[in-house]
């Protein structure tokens, strides 16, 4: 049993598990941090960005003026942003049988895998994961296609040249494998391979393995996965949360008795308390608005935004922000808000109860109804005429490299009255802001990451007691910047098996049993004898039939006729020229070169003995 690790990003994993005879990809995360090396894509022409000087090496030998631009001492690639894909050389991806998706953030690389590797399998995901994942993909594609960029920069990727570049470009890895965004057609084709599953649904794979998604409490429809046969169990834990936000709570008990637990997707902000961050978010927002400034919240169009809106719903009145317009701008804003209301089964108990009334589970329905929250597909169209300041804008992409957020950065960046509040934990806010420097607007960093922290995860592991834990190497040591914090790492006995991009791990399994089915006819013919109280035995001689990885036992042996002589207990099988000499303390079988017969006799005698 092997694990191939195709992504080095601990929260955007992509691993392949070879389990019995199946090849299972666990998540298909796309590392988007690579886009931070690129210049933002402005929606309207930006004189500032277009006037940035090109980059020439100090000695003047390398001139990449057209590809690289210098902004406030940092160098950016002037090209359509590219993503860092999961490793594709480690194993033949066309051999993958199934892909299990744990949440909508962990499926963004799907089109690259399903469309360009010869993949012919099935993708399993829950309905909210599919629907919201589709929205997130649609959004990124839309952001990219809205501002087509003819130029594709490749010279800087040359190894010799990259070596000479200033950091962080110099240190970027595998830049040759970086790829532009996929098209909507590829998204549709990839998602047509998704088969929907419900929590605790048991899905049989080729009769050999059963997989089952469990609620992970992190986002709508998010799941952890159990991959098991009758005697082996692997738990795959991806983004999970124990906080009470909107999704159904995490199913912890089903993770018990795992031989191996693969642990990914812990919080990226182990020292930031989500509740505290939420409070800070609200107070900074109110402060800015009161001072007459605008608030920009770069965010994904699904997930934490639902909780932010719910928090604001309660906060607006008490902070007398009743007249402040809240805008949510995204090509999928409307769909995301609508979809969130129709997944009652996937919500926490409180929200389910509201649906029974029947009321919409999320209060943003009321914010929209009362015109406090307005949503627009983009800054063009209705928004430009209805837009009032000061206001609060939720928009993407959180990397600040593409999407409507780029426009607001250009618009509001120069005034110190305005505030940008970072809530998504995926990007370093300093890196995100780099191409906008110098910047006058205030920056507040309140990353809200509800995923498990180290304290919660060690408690969880104590509870479910897996025999072995596999995790990204990042979790086995304290963060680089806080090397003294030994509480910010996993300390387990036995120690976890760490992996990094391109690792291949042999999973420590001791398979000892396999399930077989004894057909009724054979079962009825067995003669059990009680050896000790409560323990019976019966010898079984049967033919093993294996089909679809299921083994059945049935009759198949020609009966051997046994002649019994009166006193000597000598059995003579004339046809086979074989003698069986039975005595009080021994049996002697004399037969020539006929091994199958010998084996049969051996077992017959054993059976006979056991009857005694």
């Amino acid at each position: 049993m092997k694990l191939y690790c195709l992504s080095g990003h601990p929260t955007l994993p992509c691993n392949v598990l070879k389990f019995k005879s199946t090849t299972i990809m666990l998540d298909c995360g796309l590392d988007t941090t690579s886009v931070l090396n690129f210049l933002p894509l402005p929606l309207v022409h930006s004189p500032r960005l277009s006037k940035l000087p090109g980059w020439i090496s100090k000695d003047g030998t390398i001139n990449l003026e057209k590809e690289l631009k210098d902004c406030a001492g940092r160098v950016f690639v002037d090209s359509q942003p590219e993503f860092c894909l999961p490793e594709r050389e480690l194993l033949d991806l066309s051999t993958i049988d199934v892909i299990l998706i744990s949440n909508y953030h962990c499926m963004m690389a799907l089109p690259y895998i399903t469309e360009h590797t010869g993949f012919t399998g099935t993708v399993y995901a829950t309905e909210p994961t599919l629907q919201i994942g589709r929205l997130l993909m649609e959004e990124v594609v839309n952001f990219m296609e809205r501002v087509p960029k003819a130029q594709s920069a490749t010279c800087w990727k040359n190894k010799e040249i990259q070596r000479m570049l200033p950091g962080p470009l110099k240190d970027a890895v595998d830049v040759w494998t970086w790829k532009r965004c996929y098209s909507m057609q590829e998204v549709n084709s990839a998602l047509s391979k998704v088969q929907l599953v419900g929590y605790s649904q048991k899905v049989e794979l080729f009769g050999a393995v059963q997989v089952s998604p469990l609620s992970s409490g992190y986002s709508l429809g998010s799941s952890n996965w159990i991959i098991q046969s009758h005697h082996e169990k692997v738990s795959y834990v991806s983004g999970s949360s124990l906080l009470t936000t909107h999704p159904q709570p995490m199913d912890q008990s089903s993770l018990k008795n795992s031989d191996v637990l693969i642990l990914t997707g812990l919080t990226q902000m182990p020292t930031a308390n989500p509740d505290g961050m939420l409070g800070e978010f609200c107070s900074n927002l109110a402060m800015t608005i009161r001072a007459g400034g605008n608030v920009l919240v770069p965010c994904y169009s699904s997930g934490v935004i639902y909780d932010l809106l719910e928090c604001l719903y309660q906060f607006i009145e008490s902070a007398s922000l009743g007249t402040t317009p809240f805008y949510f701008i995204s090509p999928v804003a409307n769909s995301s808000l609508e979809f969130s209301q129709i997944f009652a089964e996937w919500l926490c108990h409180n929200k389910q109860t509201k649906v029974y009334l029947p009321e919409p589970p999320f209060p943003h329905a009321e914010l929209i109804q009362t015109n406090k929250l307005k949503h627009y597909p983009s800054i063009h169209g209705d928004f430009s005429s209805e837009f009032r300041q000061p206001c609060v804008v939720f928009t993407g992409h959180p990397s600040l490299r593409f999407g409507d957020v780029v426009h607001f950065m250009e618009l509001w960046g120069k005034s110190s009255l305005n505030t940008i509040i970072f809530t998504e934990p995926d990007f370093s806010y300093l890196d995100a802001l780099a191409p906008y420097q110098p910047l006058a607007m205030k920056c507040v960093y309140c990353p809200i990451d509800t995923r498990l922290n180290f304290h919660q995860v060690s408690k969880l592991l104590k509870e479910v007691q897996p025999l072995h834990v596999v995790c990204p190497e990042q979790y086995t040591q304290p963060p680089l910047t806080q090397s003294h914090r030994s509480d910010l790492m996993l300390e387990l006995q036995p120690p976890p098996m760490p992996y990094r991009r391109c690792s291949v791990l042999n999973l420590p399994f001791r398979r000892r049993y396999e399930r077989v089915y004894i057909l009724p006819e054979l079962a009825n013919s067995l003669v059990p004898s009680e050896i000790k109280p409560g323990v019976s035995v019966a010898t079984v001689s049967a033919v093993v039939h294996s089909k679809d990885n299921k083994h059945t036992l049935q009759h198949g042996i020609t009966e051997v006729k046994v002649e019994e002589t009166a006193d000597g207990h000598i059995l003579h099988l004339q046809a086979e020229d074989t003698l069986i000499q039975l005595e009080e303390d021994g049996t002697h079988i004399v037969c020539d070169n006929n091994e199958p017969l010998r084996t049969t006799l051996r077992d017959l005698v054993l059976r006979f003995l056991q009857k005694l």
């Binding site: 419900g198 029947p358 089915y517 409560g534 033919v543 039939h545 051996r602």
Partner: protein, 598 residues
């Protein structure tokens, strides 16, 4: 004795209404649905629970109750059963059913107690207490009721939240389905899989009808409504608050929009808006077409359909009114019917099945004079139309379902005996499976023949597979020998050696001997010595001894040489080994044989 599954309908056995079916499978007892009968006002209204036990509560006799959908003939007896007879175990139903069921129960209670003045009926509090025992089911989720009993719900179409259930204990299983409509397949979640249940229990309300296409029926419906409106008549459509009503509303709404019609459409009872709201929030349970467009336009937000007020019934001019209940047996639909029945310009469209005893049933059978309370008679002059919009299974749907699920036996409920008989014949002929149709209180028994799951030691399996050739070779059967150990609840199949070891049994010596004949001119001791030196040179790493008693030992194998009296060249090698020494034997034998040819 063969394991068996018993199915006993307490209601809906060769009858329509009051569905309640007991299934006992693998030592578990399950109640499927717990409905009431619309046609009765006495004891016959509810299933006869005394069949389960004469004295007291049902909790000890039932492992779980499963409700297929929110129609009262499937859940109307639930509070009576759980709170008045007494049942504290789990009651399973889907989320939409859990949401809507208590509302309909409360409605039913109000009509019975407040209007008809019946006492000894369940109270509002009892409905609430009953609903607390409900565990919601998600589609396709495998719910473990206990260690052995698992249930799984599939989408059934029929009405919002209707489900088929797959009930499984060990390798025995039963599928129960309400009226599956064939449009269920258009739902994004797949239909039932080929789960090969021992019994498929299905409703058969429309067993003999093979209904024409849905589109035709829809066109026909719109035409009739339109004609009546044109001639200034009023159209009454008696419906149940939730279910097909919403689909018909969508149909009329779009028609009104397209034809720019002005006649008012009303929906009676306060339930309307609430009902539509449920549809909006549970849109994932509706059909694909509605789901696909819901972000742009929610089909359940109606522009033309407004709430009905009692006084509107006397307004002049054409109108369309959806009124509850659906079989004209009580409430607003009956009141309006009485007002409009005398005018031949008006029309009543019955969009669903009506059970015997209801006014709906009578007028559908052509009765034109109705006896009302207080000896009054009512002349029915308005036009009566029947349109089977209610999504009960028809023969075609049931046949399709059988093809999908491949059951070993079929069992029909919730239909009229004569029609069932017809369908039974059809099923037995086409699929060559037994089809049962027990009456209420009658038990259908099906014997099952499950195989026995056993854990085989991987060593043993691999050894057998190694003998049988490399893996995987599904076509080549392999013989294996092992010992089955039955301990507590576990069944383990291991090699005999391992069994002995595990059970701490003394072994019984088992020896084998075989003769190999060869021609060798040397003397017996010389031959033996030659064999000894040869084995010694070939078998490195084995213990090989030449013993003074004239034998050679290779590990535990004893080799002796003798020659026949007549021909001293004809030597007989005796190889003898114990049962455990078997593994070395082949090596030794091969070498000896090779020696023979040298």
């Amino acid at each position: 004795n063969m394991p068996e599954i018993n199915v006993t309908p307490l209601g809906a056995g060769q009858d329509v209404g009051r569905s309640c079916i007991l299934v006992s499978i693998g030592g578990k007892n399950i109640m499927l649905d717990c409905g009431m009968h619309m046609g009765y006002n006495d004891d016959r209204r509810f299933p006869d629970f005394s069949y389960i036990t004469q004295n007291g509560r049902l909790t000890d006799f039932l492992d779980c109750v499963i409700i297929s959908h929110f129609h009262l003939d499937h859940c109307g007896a639930l509070p009576y059963m759980s709170e008045m007879v007494g049942y504290d175990g789990p009651i399973y139903m889907t989320h939409p059913t859990k949401a809507i069921c208590p509302i309909l129960l409360e409605d039913f209670r109000k009509i019975t107690v407040d209007k008809k003045g019946e006492t000894n009926f369940f109270t509002s509090q009892m409905i609430k207490d009953c609903m607390k025992k409900v565990v919601p089911l998600n589609l396709h989720q495998t719910v473990q009721v206990d260690d052995e009993l698992e249930i799984k719900a599939y989408y059934a179409g029929h009405v919002l939240g209707a489900a088929m259930v797959h009930i499984k204990v060990g390798s025995e299983s039963v599928v129960y389905t309400v009226s599956v409509n064939k449009y269920a397949k258009s739902h994004i979640s797949a239909w039932i899989d080929k789960c090969r249940p021992d019994i498929l229990i299905s409703e058969s309300t429309y067993a003999t009808t093979i209904r024409d296409s849905k589109r035709c029926r829809e066109r026909d419906f719109l035409k009739k409504v339109h004609e009546t409106i044109e001639r200034g008549g009023k159209v009454l459509i008696p419906v149940f608050a939730l279910g097909r009503a919403q689909e018909l509303c969508i149909l009329l709404e779009t028609f009104w929009e397209r034809m720019n019609l002005k006649a008012p459409i009303y929906f009676s009872t306060g339930l309307t808006e609430k009902a539509n709201h449920y549809y909006k929030l549970f849109i994932t349970w509706t059909n694909q077409k509605i789901r696909k467009t819901f972000v742009q336009r929610n089909m359940f937000e109606f522009k033309h359909i407004k709430a009905f007020d009692r006084s509107y019934a006397d307004n002049p001019g054409p109108m369309v009114v959806f009124a509850t209940p659906g079989m004209l047996h009580a409430g607003q639909s009956l009141q309006i019917f009485k007002k409009w029945a005398g005018n031949e310009k008006n029309m009543v469209i019955m969009p669903g099945y009506c059970v015997q005893g209801t006014i709906g049933h009578k007028i559908l059978n052509g009765q034109r004079k109705l006896e009302m309370e207080g000896r009054a008679t009512l002349d029915v002059k308005l036009q009566v139309e029947y349109m089977s919009f209610s999504a009960h299974a028809d023969a075609k749907g049931i046949m399709q379902l059988i093809r999908m699920a491949e059951p070993r036996n079929m069992l029909l409920v919730h239909g009229e005996a004569v029609k069932m008989e017809f369908l039974k014949g059809k099923i037995e002929q086409e699929f060559s499976i037994d089809c049962y149709m027990p009456a209420n209180g009658e038990t259908a028994t099906v014997t099952t023949n499950p195989s026995v799951p056993v854990d085989i030691s991987l060593n043993l399996l691999k050894r057998e597979m190694a003998l049988g050739g490399p893996l995987p070779d599904p076509k080549k059967p392999r013989t294996m020998h092992g010992t089955l150990i039955m301990k507590e609840n576990s069944l383990k199949l291991v090699s005999s050696e391992q069994a002995l070891k595990e059970l701490g049994l003394n072994e019984h010596q088992l020896r084998f001997t075989c003769r190999v004949q060869l021609q060798d001119p040397h003397s017996d001791p010389d031959t033996l010595h030659r064999i000894y030196t040869h084995l010694k040179s070939v078998l490195k790493g084995y213990t090989i001894q030449h013993l003074p008693d004239g034998t050679v030992m290779v590990e535990s194998i004893v080799i002796k040489v003798s020659s026949s009296a007549e021909d001293t060249n004809a030597k007989v090698l005796l190889l003898s080994w114990s049962y455990q020494g078997g593994e070395y034997f082949f090596t030794a034998l091969c070498i000896v044989k090779r020696l023979m040819y040298q």
